[in-house]
Amino acid sequence: MKPSSSFDVLVIGSGPAGQKAAIQGAKAGKRVGLVEQNREVGGACVYQGTIPSKTLRESALQMVRFLQATDVFEFRMRDDVKITSLMTRLHHVVRAHGEFMKEQLTRNGITPLHGRAKFRSDHEVDIHHVDGTCTTASAPLIIIAAGSRPRIPDHVAIDHEHILDSDSILSLVYLPKSLTVLGGGVIASEYASMFALLGVQVTMIDSADRPLKFLDQELTDQFSLAFEQTGGRYRGLQKIQHVQWDGYSHVTTTLDNGETVNSEKMLVALGRVANIEYLNISAAGLEPTSRGLIAVNDHCQTSVPHIYAVGDVIGPPSLASCSMEQGRRAVCHALGLDPGVAPEHIPMGIYTIPEMSSVGLSEQDAIGKFGSALVGRAKFYEIARGQISGMTNGLLKMVADPDGKELLGVHIVGEGATELIHIGQMGLLHHIQVDRFIENIFNFPTLAEAYRVAALDIAKQRSRR
């Protein structure tokens, strides 16, 4: 007979969603088992996603600032320092973050179970270990937090050497001269702008007419402008006929119109797929959706009431931030604990260069809902802090109801956007009127002043009516 263990809560996957679910269970005094197939805990977020991409971005920005300063301070950096030092810092940060996660789980008395989870029944999970042995764990409550991985399109042979995905792009040891990025979503845009900033010739190719189509166009226009200024090209409305590594120096992308784009490397970022095939969810009485996800209700509960699914495995918004909250709330719901008020306004942060962030209704959505909307704008270069920092391309856009009174949404492009957005988020949560941004005092000089300037812009339009 296989050795077996039983828990009060069994969590599959140690990414942000699984981790917070496990910690919530432990905090509620439950015996929690956490199954993870990798040696390290933390999931895609720590090893292939948020943490490495953001560290690389931050280091790239610092390096570019540093390189710019070499003119002022008259010193030179070794040419080859570039990517190796970027990567070294990346590995330090990732390792430190991984250690922190592990320590947090240990502190909470969570039992780590290293292996691949596969449902045996709706209460039992087989854990296939790396040494080929198998054990079984059972629990009255099971949380699936198996996350996602890059989607491999049928027509592109990713070899992780010349044609890379968002996991293997992190293995680069030198900067390629040129890079083609397939895709126009968040991951594609973030890496495209980062590599362009580092001096790589980047071409983005996508079927949409502009990158990040789901975002406010004024924001993406600013992004596109900055991207082009660093030498990047966006080829929209394109279909790929085929992609081929020519065997010696180039990846050749042939478009439907016969045109070809050559680059030294390629990044394929055409979405993600949920990690469910290994789980054998049918043994638990679950079926994947047509998009290969696990369907859940508002509490992240699946059709089998004691099995919950959280994070990327249930689909959009597929953010670490949301995944964590889903994990916590799911366990609270299952254990009959009060999870607090459900998050109403989830901010979206996109770490392109420049950053973009958005919360609440877009201008188009507001018009759809109310017939019209008043929109206030503040350009960073008109704000003292923006001038001091030499910011030429920042914009804060405030969306209000047709009377220009109620705040409906905030959209920001420019450095610091992902931090600044939280003021707008709090405003939305507390139904703050637009005028409150005018009546109150902000630190000076700060970028937060943009809120005041945008609110004033709305007030001006209101008074003209």
Partner: protein, 291 residues
């Protein structure tokens, strides 16, 4: 085929040669050859993001023997060109830039650096092992999303200390005047290839991850490696898989599946099955690479 010597003779040879190598190493002034200019440049070019294939082919052309070898390999059945390959540019296109850079390096080292007479077959065996390790290293790196080019380079160079040690031994005094038995030499290569390789790596200024691999690629050592590229641990498993595929391993498939390095790389049985299935294709590739 080398004829194995009776144990007592081997002991005598070892007793004579071991102190010689030890003294050379202790003196710290190993009389090792310099890396040939072409090989060194090839190595630089392969790690240079600005390099292009024409630069590489120009370099290779400087060494006629090397150019001939590359054309031979590109035309070999394992690479099955659609039409005969007649130019270096075309060969580069067919074999792949990085593969070729590594190959050019190893071919040039094989034929040019170490002037070792005799034991040709055994020396070829060493290169087979190195190349198979490099090729397996690539496949392992792909699986764990680590740098494929670096893994190849670490693999093909991890045993560089063996020809290095042979080179030193070929200059050791032989009281009887006869050449040394391969049995004795093999024992000494196993004992000394890491310290000799370490010196070579430093002298030739090989990339840091390669130097680390040379020093720590063995099962009880890879945990000392700190390079995030993981070339060392990749090479450790690649070395075992390469030996198995070349039928020179003292281990069987099952023993390899249970090595600690497999767990270190977090390879599940199905990952190992996929890697083991590559044995035949790796073997074929190696055959056309060896001079």
């Amino acid at each position: 085929m080398s004829i194995s010597s009776p144990p007592s003779l081997v002991e005598a040879e070892l007793a004579e040669l071991r102190p010689f190598l030890q003294k050379e190493l202790e003196a710290g002034t190993l009389d090792l050859p310099l890396l040939p200019v072409v090989a060194h440049q090839v190595l630089l070019v392969s790690g240079d993001p600005n390099a292009d294939s024409s630069k590489l082919s120009t370099l290779i052309q400087q060494d006629q023997a090397l150019a001939a070898q590359i054309l031979r390999i590109a035309n070999s059945p394992a690479y099955a060109p659609r039409s005969p390959i007649v130019s270096l540019q075309q060969a580069i296109a067919w074999l792949g830039f990085n593969m070729l850079a590594g190959l050019a390096f190893s071919v040039s080292v094989q034929s040019g650096v170490f002037k070792i007479s005799g034991h040709q077959q055994e020396i070829q065996g060493l290169w087979r092992q190195a190349l198979a390790t490099g090729l397996y290293g690539k496949e392992i790196a792909r699986r764990i999303r680590h740098n494929v080019e670096n893994a190849f380079l670490c693999g093909i160079l991890h045993l560089i200390g063996k020809p290095g040690a042979l080179h030193l031994l070929s200059r050791a005094p032989s009281p009887t005047g006869s050449s040394h038995s391969w049995t004795a030499l093999e024992i000494l290569l196993d004992e000394f290839h890491i310290p000799v390789g370490t010196v070579l790596g430093k002298t030739w200024k090989l990339p840091e991850s390669v130097q680390e691999t040379i020093q720590f690629y063995q099962d009880d050592q890879y945990h000392h490696a700190i390079s995030p590229a993981k070339g060392t641990v990749i090479t450790c498993l690649a070395h075992h898989l390469a030996s198995l595929s070349l039928q020179t391993s003292p281990m069987n498939e099952d023993a390899i599946r249970h090595l600690p390095v497999v767990r270190e790389l977090n390879f599940y049985p199905e990952d190992m099955t996929a890697l083991l299935e590559l044995q035949e294709s790796i073997r074929k590739n190696v055959e056309c690479f060896v001079i």
